[in-house]
């Protein structure tokens, strides 16, 4: 029978099926960080259990870590927030106790969990990957089944190497055609979410197919898969092709020699069969996608840069209309206001969505030779990992930002969720390359606008949103 990519990944990891549709699936790679693991380790200790397979786990602190060189200079002890310090220290202690490999705070390999997974080859095609973080779907770009789990499941996977799961339905998001100049993977995924809504993918594993994804780089595919959860789907994925294989080759934990050939042969199977059945297919025309900007407090509240803030009066669904009115109030925007008339107070380029080398290059290209608008209080670039940071510095990109008055920081999640000191002030607007524009997400009362790295960089220079295609 013809199978989808997801069917194949599921079948390859099925350990045991129960009559009621729930199953045990085997987990190949488990990534952990400081926020969602401490209670899981406590649970293990309480029950006298040990991790089933220590070599399946890779740890790094990312959510809480400060991004200024001043705070980072002294490692864990240098973290000024005492509560964050305890959490990062707890991860170190737990990993040491159980013998888990951890890239500690100032290890040159440290970074955002979803950036270091693919970058080191710890996450590979055909794998099942879990992490106590909803953006784990990023790894689906490799042709893997990757999704976020809760802390009880973190404990369950550590103790049993398995997850109790129910098979999801199959969804295909097909984007054909060629993207226009200046249109990035972030614009593609925001356009998808705008079309299907934040619950459009609930209950589905979401495969991204079509010319646009075939042409897309691995970094771009990661950006798209990363935000599958913002469309409601726990897992996003792209079929394995030559781009995937070329990306994986030579990475630290990737197989070598004869083993490499054997692995590649296996990985090439991870594509949807021609005749595979999808329960739902959504199609978009890639050539019509413009640079996207979110205006509201949900990732589906997105319009094109040349558009205006929508008017709730035109919405017929009362629950939706209420939501729009509340969003406009929170965001301090008026219906029908042009998107280009929105001024920004801060700019954040980073997060597991957009902090890889291509993202940094795209932002640098826009910024080169220009200066940050004086009305923008702060603009920062936070690379996704030590490796991304080193590569960018090798290319001289850090100097371009610094010359423009934009800060160049140490790797971490930073202002995407503002668990460290990087946050928005009350009422401040931010052009952000992150993934969520929820109320308070980037700081109490903060107003997030989700955009691509190039669009964020352009906003930093202009002081307000502008169409990067004419910039």
């Amino acid at each position: 029978m013809a199978k989808t990519l997801y069917d194949k990944l599921w079948d390859a990891h099925l350990v045991k099926e129960s009559g009621d549709g729930s199953a045990l699936i085997y987990i190949d790679r488990h990534i952990i960080h400081e926020v969602t693991s401490p209670q899981a380790f406590d649970g293990l200790r309480l029950a006298g259990r040990k991790p089933w397979r220590v070599d399946s786990i890779l740890a790094t602190p990312d959510h809480n870590v400060p991004t200024t060189q001043k705070e980072r200079a002294n490692g864990v002890k240098g973290i000024e927030d005492p509560v964050s310090l305890i959490q990062v220290q707890t991860l170190d202690d737990n990993c040491d106790e159980f013998g888990i490999v951890e890239y500690k705070i100032n290890d040159s390999r440290q970074g955002i969990v979803h950036v270091i997974g693919p970058e080191t080859g710890a996450c590979l095609p055909g794998m099942t990957v879990v992490c106590g973080d909803s953006h784990t779907a990023t790894n689906g770009a490799l042709g893997a089944l990757a999704h976020g789990i809760g802390t009880s499941e973190v404990e369950h996977v550590m103790a049993t190497q398995c997850l109790v799961a129910k098979k999801m339905k199959n969804m295909l998001v097909k984007v054909e055609g060629k993207l226009g100049v200046g249109i990035t993977p972030k614009d593609v995924v925001l356009a998808i979410i705008a079309k299907i809504g934040t619950a459009g993918g609930t209950g589905y594993a979401m495969e991204f197919g079509g010319q646009v994804f075939r042409d897309m780089s691995m970094e771009g595919r990661m950006t798209v898969c990363n935000m599958a959860i913002e469309a409601g789907a726990r897992a996003g994925m792209v079929a394995v092709d030559q781009t995937t294989i070329d990306y994986v080759k030579g990475r630290t934990y990737a197989p070598k020699g004869d083993m490499w050939e054997k692995a590649v042969k296996n990985w090439r199977e991870f594509v949807s069969d021609e005749a595979a059945h999808f329960d739902l297919i959504v199609e978009l025309d890639g050539s019509q996608i413009k640079p996207q900007v979110s205006w509201g407090t949900s990732p589906e509240m997105v319009v094109a840069i040349d558009d205006r803030v929508p008017d709730p009066a035109n919405e017929s669904d009362p629950v939706k209309r209420e939501g729009m009115i509340r969003a406009l109030q929170y965001m301090g925007l008026k219906a029908n206001q042009p998107i280009e008339s929105i001024y920004v107070d801060r700019v954040f380029i980073g997060s597991c969505t957009n902090s890889r080398i291509e993202d940094i290059r795209a932002a640098a290209e826009v910024v080169k030779g220009k200066t940050k608008a004086s009305s923008v209080k702060e603009a920062m670039v936070v690379p996704g990992s030590g490796a991304v940071k080193a590569q960018a510095e090798k290319e001289g990109l850090d100097k371009i930002f610094i010359a423009a008055g934009i800060e160049w920081r140490e790797p971490g999640c930073s202002m995407c969720l503002a668990m460290n000191a990087d946050k928005l002030g009350n009422g401040e607007h931010c052009a952000s390359t992150s993934n969520r524009n929820f109320e308070g997400r980037q700081g109490y009362g903060g107003r997030t606008h989700l955009v691509s790295p190039a669009m964020a960089a352009a906003a930093a220079i202009a002081g307000h949103f502008v169409d990067v295609r004419n910039f």
Binding site: C162, T198, I229, Y253, A263
Partner: protein, 215 residues
Amino acid sequence: MKSFTILTGIAAPMDRANVDTDMIIPKQFLKSIKRTGFGKNLFDELRYLDEGKPDQECTGRPINPDFPLNFSRYQGATVLLARENFGCGSSREHAPWALDDYGFRCVIAPSFADIFYNNCFKNGLLPIVLNESMVDQLFKEMYAMEGYELTIDLARQIVKTPSGESFSFDVDEFRKHCLLNGLDDIGLTLEHADTIRAYEAKKRIDAPWLFDVVK
């Protein structure tokens, strides 16, 4: 895990769609390394008029008088009525921990986000999906009657209103079994340890590149 059998309790509203887990429990409280104590910060940004800090006493903070959970009529509520896509966003299990710690045992909504839905069952919290018109009816009845109580019978899979009307709901057999009996699913999975080991042994031969690499 505590079991869930029959619950009768006051229903309270969270009357908006797409309530995300950042809203249920804001990030600054995730710095805790414990599983308990999140209840006082449930819906923190809606409940209080100031910005909440971790490890802060909440008794002296300014209360938002317009937020329903602060109304005297909803005190002691154990059932939360909500709208579509409840619990979307971050996978933080701190969201069900906060609801549970506050006193909620059940959330009723037309739809839930997948990860949140799953996390509830691990914590003795029952998420119930009823269709939109049923949820709408419950909201209307609750607003019209102070002290509006719902009875949830998990074994029979029904929600009963004060007028005696009942709505049936679906729940996965395995999850129902675990919840009714308060079972820890790690113990249940480990009953299949031999099956897991057999799978693993075969995989070590078929895909050796997956083993003993990160060490």
